[in-house]
Assembly symmetry: D3
Homo-oligomer: 228 residues x 6
């Protein structure tokens, strides 16, 4: 039973905009170290950075038919998130689909499978995170689902979740927790800015994070090379 769910809720535009100012590592920390997709997803060019609402798409191995179906229900600001039902490195996506997605306002693609037309996608600056690069084409024979909950690269992704991707990887934030996570991530980001300055000025992490006592308690010993 294959379905397309229309009119799924989208994430709040201002929240998405807020996440766009932050890196994946920071958001992942603000999530309590959850929500990170497997690191086999890599950007096809660097630097790349995108944030948007997840438009989910579940596809059979080696079959990209449902991507065309997904375009129709896309809205500006969506990020298309594609997961095959079993591992596939075939090239599901190229410049034609990118042109189509862009025409409908889709901001980028996250796919746990292969893509092709790298030169063209790079020139278009259409950001893509994929687990493979392959010129091998797909067929259009078997249905899948659009805008249903999926698992992509090891993480559950629901329609309407916020997806953020950069050079470090891809993270997903549940729509219902987005406001709270964004606040924590911004706080963390501000705190890191202060720490970065102090570290760049030469202050030691040992002092800044008050580590010395705990290290000693755990038994760390210092010896001089001359004494060895």
């Amino acid at each position: 039973m294959s379905v397309v769910v229309r009119n799924a809720a989208r994430a709040d535009v201002e929240l998405v905009e807020g996440f766009r100012q932050l890196g994946v590592a920071t958001i992942h920390e603000a999530l309590g170290r959850t929500g990170l997709l497997a690191r086999r997803l890599r950007p096809i060019y660097r630097p790349a950075h995108v944030a948007g609402t997840a438009l989910t798409c579940e596809v059979p191995p080696g079959d990209n038919w449902m991507l065309h179906v997904a375009v129709e229900v896309a809205r500006p600001g969506d990020v298309l998130v594609v997961a095959p039902t079993s591992a596939s490195s075939t090239g599901y996506f190229g410049e034609l689909l990118a042109a189509s997605l862009r025409a409908h306002g889709v901001a980028g693609l996250v796919i746990d499978a292969g893509v092709r037309d790298l030169a063209e996608l790079t020139e278009m600056r259409f950001p893509v995170w994929s687990s493979a690069i392959s010129a091998q084409g797909t067929v259009k024979e078997t249905l899948g689902n659009v805008q249903t909950p999926i698992v992509c690269a090891g993480q559950p992704v629901r329609p309407g979740d916020i997806v953020v991707a950069d050079d470090d990887g891809v993270v997903v934030v549940a729509r219902t927790e987005a406001a709270e996570v964004l606040e924590r991530a911004h706080a963390r980001s501000r705190e890191e800015a202060g720490k970065r300055k102090r570290l760049a000025d030469g202050e030691l992490g040992l002092d800044m994070y008050w580590m010395r006592e705990r290290l000693a308690q755990r038994g760390l010993r210092y010896i001089d090379a001359a004494e060895q």
Copy 2:
């Protein structure tokens, strides 16, 4: 018994020039989705794009002696295609061999093994597709073959076949079929240009490819998020 075959036929220069205008994915489609080398072959810099006649070379694992032999029988417009007789990630090729190949007009290298001197090769803009990067050197102890039929990264390659490589991978076209394949690939390319324009203007693939009826026949259902 190791042999070097001299005076192997080359592909027609105009055909090669024609293929140079086309991407690997397009040619692969025009071939009925055959001829694609395994996706472990990646360009050492991007973008990169080459087309030429295959100059084949079969080498022992970890031994690059035959590459020097191959240079002598190279002709302008050749692409050197190298396959080890068993899997090897050793660095068979670097800037000295690149200088030598370039002096003899060779347009690029495709090798199912390792290469080194990446910085220099990139600066020279000598295009290389390899399955590994390794500073580890090879020995020169055991013979192989030059200009005999080989299997490279899972595909049979015969001397004189046309090899095209770009950011998506590497494809090989039999010399005898090249004219016909080129025509089909150009037709496909022109057709894609038209489709790209329509998709970029917002037309849906669902309509452009007449998919709606077949999707419905297969049982695709649309539901509204509010009804779930």
Copy 3:
């Protein structure tokens, strides 16, 4: 028992400077093809090239506490070399630690594990060779060692060894052999410059390296395509 060794000897500054002029492949050859770290270590941006004295750090899997400890004993010109006690792809290192290392004069990082903040590290031009990229953070719970002999990516590295890394990989030279190796590597480099020129002028490696007789002895046969 975890230790930090203070005041370990450093490599001679002029030797390090000498190695900085040379590529990893050349040095590896001058070492008799030893000293090369596993090729899973790749630079996070290219081109990249660094030479320095190894500041060694052994860490538990998924735990980066000791990196902060290492900063305190760092000296200008060091390259931090980090090895987990068992395989880990977690992101041990990001822009904050890079700011800290740079403030103390550390020239780069070699780590057989993951790093994050790629965009920031690339913008800072802080050179890093790692075996993984991951936004996943580490904990700070378990001790390790700083400035003790380690094995990193399959190679023994001692504090004070010279580490050189470029686009081809990473090589380590024992401090006691550095002068001799540098001389051999420079000799090789000069010799290669001469050969490069001759090859670029079209001379065949077959002639330049006197290979023809040995090839014939081994039984290489030449045939003409027309005779096949």
Copy 4:
């Protein structure tokens, strides 16, 4: 926020018993080709076959503390399903935990990470499906969750789902759909028994599945070797 959920519902005992008579491939087909965990999960000995109710456990990378927590809420007939929050090959599980699980009636273990004590586990005939074998131990420093929904090897698993594992892999069936799936799987199994007999008697699949017409429509041609 780490939680242990007590008194989660279990699958019906008779349904579980029904699934125990069936292979993973058959159940996967009856599920419409969904529910299959990634094939990196392999049994530590063969043949092995288990069916039970999922007792879920989410663990930090390299930290097996929560496994001890899970034992307390285990019930006879459970299969422990363990997923690390990021990829880990460390040895989370050995004979002591197996003895403990068995004492509480747990029928087997499915873990997307490493295990150790293979000789002892094999001798005990405690069935384990894991993605790695490693003598490397874990720490007990960070919390996780027990009996919450998880993603294991790419599949969502909820407490109370039915898990079936055999030499071919691991499949999960939602508790609410179990009765219906079991019926379809049994029907399929009976149907396959009939087909197996006919095929073993020499009948061709071409005839039994009425394939000839469709193959011809798609354009399959038969030629004789003598005509080539």
Copy 5:
């Protein structure tokens, strides 16, 4: 254009029988170290050993339709050799097809893709060499070829070639060279039997193979631990 070639020539029965007495490593040596399929092909149970005539089958990724087509043209003594046109780990083959192949006298399967029903295949003692194990099923939508030349796991295989497989891997021998190769392989096997006896009696390979002089010429030095 998809074809099935009927009445392809088979290898001589006595030659096949001769090869069945020999191991893959020995035959590979007798072939001058050629003909070995990639080592990702592993037997599903051990020990396993088969020799037969190659019945070739080229299949699309994730589509096993052509296997049913191949059964019809199988003859007793054939070994089915299956290669997907691009990499696939899907489960193409299980007990039903095994029952069918056995009914038509096929001696085993070599497939550069996935198989399932391991427990049943093992119990049937139907020998299979595959590159993956997966319960994931295939579709039957796209044609391929039967009894045409293919490349399987990196080696060209023609209908009628002799295929031998054991615990070490899979090797292919061209039909036209089979008699000569068999003779060399038998000679090598006899010679090894003599060597095995001498080595088992304690004679050193250094003496038996006359290695001492050549080792000394290359510069091997012996030192005593006490002198270090």
Copy 6:
């Protein structure tokens, strides 16, 4: 410069005998979780268990010449430990060398490369831990070292170290620390026997290891499924 070191010291026979009673995981724990070789080393048959003194051998990639050299300096009770200078999956070792090693009392082989003749080695019950299985043969062209310190699968191994291998992997113990490590490992083993009995009797690890308080301090919460 290639050397063979004669008369290297061996580990104490009684210590080796003591380690033979213990599993790799237990010894690895007694070593403070050090000394474990990379988990890519797997036994060719199971169960397998060996302990002995390391006879070290460093070999070029794809070249097994030095194995013959190593046999001459082997002594009863040695375990041959072989490391290539760069990664290699070639089959370095088969039944002839096994017959030779056994004739000289060598108890087993640990090799970070490929082996062949699996059926014969298994029938001989000659225990082997390798990182690959391959029928592909090696050459005998380049020297290496015997009985010098090496790095095998990521661990330093010195001649005379004690090597223990079982189904879980391979661990190395420095000769000078062996007595102390053995004592700790035996203590641990005795302690585990007591724990195993208590766990098998149904006692919870939570109680036996006094974990409840620390879990609560870290914030673990228990909730009832009915309250969710």
